[in-house]
């Protein structure tokens, strides 16, 4: 995610083991998707504010105000070049750095106290482990919706806001209150919202997981699909947004319900589908393993597919498959892609993204358009 922002700050260690940031500038999706450029491999953490201010300051002077489609810093970086913009940032940084005079570090030290780790409980987890072995429904949820915590007695819980057929990212007021109660009771009163439009309880003791899971299921929040096909991110699209060129939400809803009916998503395994309703790409479609972009083609909703995108530290912009699909054709088109993946993967452990990287666009184009279509599109 740090490679697709105006500034991405990725924490790394230098050779001496000290923490710092890799500073990545000029990434972004939207009309002109670009992976960011690393302008600093290692920035000491104490230099964060003056360096970020230097980037903003250079951009504020250099950024184009004549054309809003060329005004983002990604265009500035692209047009100026990595060497020159890095030099300008470093020059400005050298001017700004003395002006901060350590005041920011005093503020940071103060802020740090507010983020002290919670008082982790020390309690046995044997009952949890037994429950995990005994209860297949709990196990299915635990396998998808839990992540490893630094404290081995704890887990990070992702509460899916992607019940099959629901609007991705929506929560009712009752669900919000239940999540608040559960965070207080089982989660050290900490809640996070993920960019994948789910809610996170970052600190749950494993002994509390079975009762937490039961409470989530009761509230319609127990969907076991995090990281799977139906964990789709989607912008509001033309159901709400004035800028949209097509709808996103109903496409997400129909994909989720269709593959749930086919009972295929666990077999398909890890998959990120991302849907945007216009080229501004709020649904991050460029970095979806399968990206869907809704457009207006001659007064009809039309959906363009990209494959192979990746939003992690190995960021890649997905490749367009070819001509888009009408609203009624998009779900069957995605099914053809996924049936092709199931047929060509070497074994169930090879994920969609891995398979795509091995075989490329070709077999998926054939699945989408047939042999003739592939020749036409080539």
């Amino acid at each position: 995610m740090t490679k697709a922002h105006d500034i991405g700050l990725r924490m790394v260690r230098n050779a001496g083991g000290e923490p710092g940031f890799e500073v990545i500038v000029g990434g972004g999706l939207g009309r002109t998707p670009m992976i960011g450029t690393t302008v600093r491999d290692f920035l000491p953490v104490a230099d964060l504010l003056p360096y970020v201010e230097a980037v903003l300051s250079v951009y504020n002077t250099l950024g184009r105000r004549d054309n809003k489609y060329k005004a983002r810093i990604k265009i500035t970086v692209h047009e100026t070049g990595k060497a020159e913009i890095s030099r300008m940032i470093e020059d400005r940084f050298a001017e700004l750095r003395p002006l901060f005079g350590g005041g920011d570090q005093a503020v940071l030290a103060d802020i740090r106290t507010a983020f002290a780790p919670p008082a982790f409980r020390d309690a046995p987890v044997a009952a949890h482990d037994a429950f995990y072995r005994a209860d297949p429904v709990f196990r299915s949820w635990a396998d998808t919706n839990l992540a490893a915590h630094r404290n081995a007695q704890y887990a990070i819980v992702t509460i899916s806001l992607k019940a099959h057929g629901q609007t991705p990212g929506d929560a009712t007021s009752d669900q919000m209150r239940i999540i608040a109660d559960l965070a207080e009771r089982y989660g050290h009163s900490d809640l996070r919202i993920s960019h994948e439009q789910n809610v996170i309880l970052p600190h749950v003791h494993k002994s509390d997981l079975p009762v937490l899971h039961a409470a989530l299921v009761k509230a319609g929040l127990g969907t076991a699909n995090v990281g799977l096909l139906s964990d789709i991110i989607a912008c509001p699209g033309m159901d709400y947004c004035a800028l949209a060129t097509a709808r996103s939400i109903p496409v997400a809803q129909e994909l989720a319900t269709h593959f749930e009916a086919l009972k295929l998503e666990h077999d398909i395994g890890p998959l990120k589908i991302k849907i945007s309703g216009c080229i501004n790409a709020c649904g991050h479609h460029h970095v979806g393993h399968i990206g869907i972009l809704g457009l207006d083609r001659a007064g009809v909703e039309n959906y363009q597919i990209t494959l192979g995108g990746d939003g992690t530290e190995t960021a890649v912009i997905g490749e367009k498959t070819g001509p888009g699909f009408a609203y009624d054709e998009i779900v069957p088109a995605i099914e053809r892609i996924l049936r092709a993946y199931l047929a060509l993967r070497t074994d169930p452990g090879e994920t969609f993204l891995q398979a795509y990287r091995r075989v490329g666009l070709g077999p998926f184009k054939t699945a989408l358009y047939g042999e003739i279509g592939q020749k036409d599109a080539a």
């Binding site: 105006d6 924490m11 802020i111 990212g169 929560a171 996070r192 996170i200 004035a242």
Partner: protein, 178 residues
């Protein structure tokens, strides 16, 4: 989690008071839509396809239970009983009415929340990895740095009219959370 300083509190309250006045002047006709539009956008209030939309910042995606309950209260009182969590870790209310917007911002201020810099050519809400402070492979918790950036960028006089919007993401782990 981080609590507002007196300065943060006073700033957010003063912006609510200012926007309350601006909405009143729009409704009585002393501000035109052309004059009012940038003012409402500075407070996260968009006019969308079917209704207004209020985008509320959730700094680096971190919420307290009290804040989550207040979002539920807002959804029940001034919206249609739900909220939409976005791909930038914010929440959007899809059905607020213009005369209610100041009261909603007041209710947000009661729990140290706001909708400032959720629109416009400014530094937007800083995002952080959602497993911060919990994940096993983290070098350091990114949230204090994200909060430092939030304080620095909020109402920064030099950066209120950038060429375009500006988004910063920070992660404490070299590997992206799944």
């Amino acid at each position: 989690m981080y609590s507002y300083s007196d300065f943060d509190e006073a700033f957010v309250r003063s912006r609510v008071a200012q926007f309350t006045d601006q909405v009143a002047r729009r409704l009585d006709g002393s501000l035109s839509e052309d004059e009012f539009r940038p003012l409402r956008l500075m407070n996260g209030l968009y006019l969308q396809l079917h209704a207004y939309m209020l985008r509320v910042a959730i700094p680096y995606g971190t919420l307290s239970p009290r804040q989550m309950r207040q979002l539920a209260f807002i959804a029940d009182t001034w919206d249609k009983g739900y909220g939409h969590f976005t791909t930038r870790q914010n929440i959007q209310f899809n059905w607020p009415k213009l005369p209610d917007a100041p009261a909603i911002l007041g209710a947000l201020a009661d729990v140290e929340m706001h909708a400032i810099q959720t629109s416009g050519n400014t530094v937007r809400n800083v995002t952080a990895d959602h497993f911060a402070g919990a994940t096993a492979d983290e070098i350091d918790d990114p949230r204090p740095y994200a909060e430092l950036l939030r304080q620095w960028s909020t109402d920064h006089p030099e950066f209120q009219f950038l060429p375009r919007k500006f988004k910063i993401a920070i992660t404490g782990s070299p590997v992206t959370a799944p």
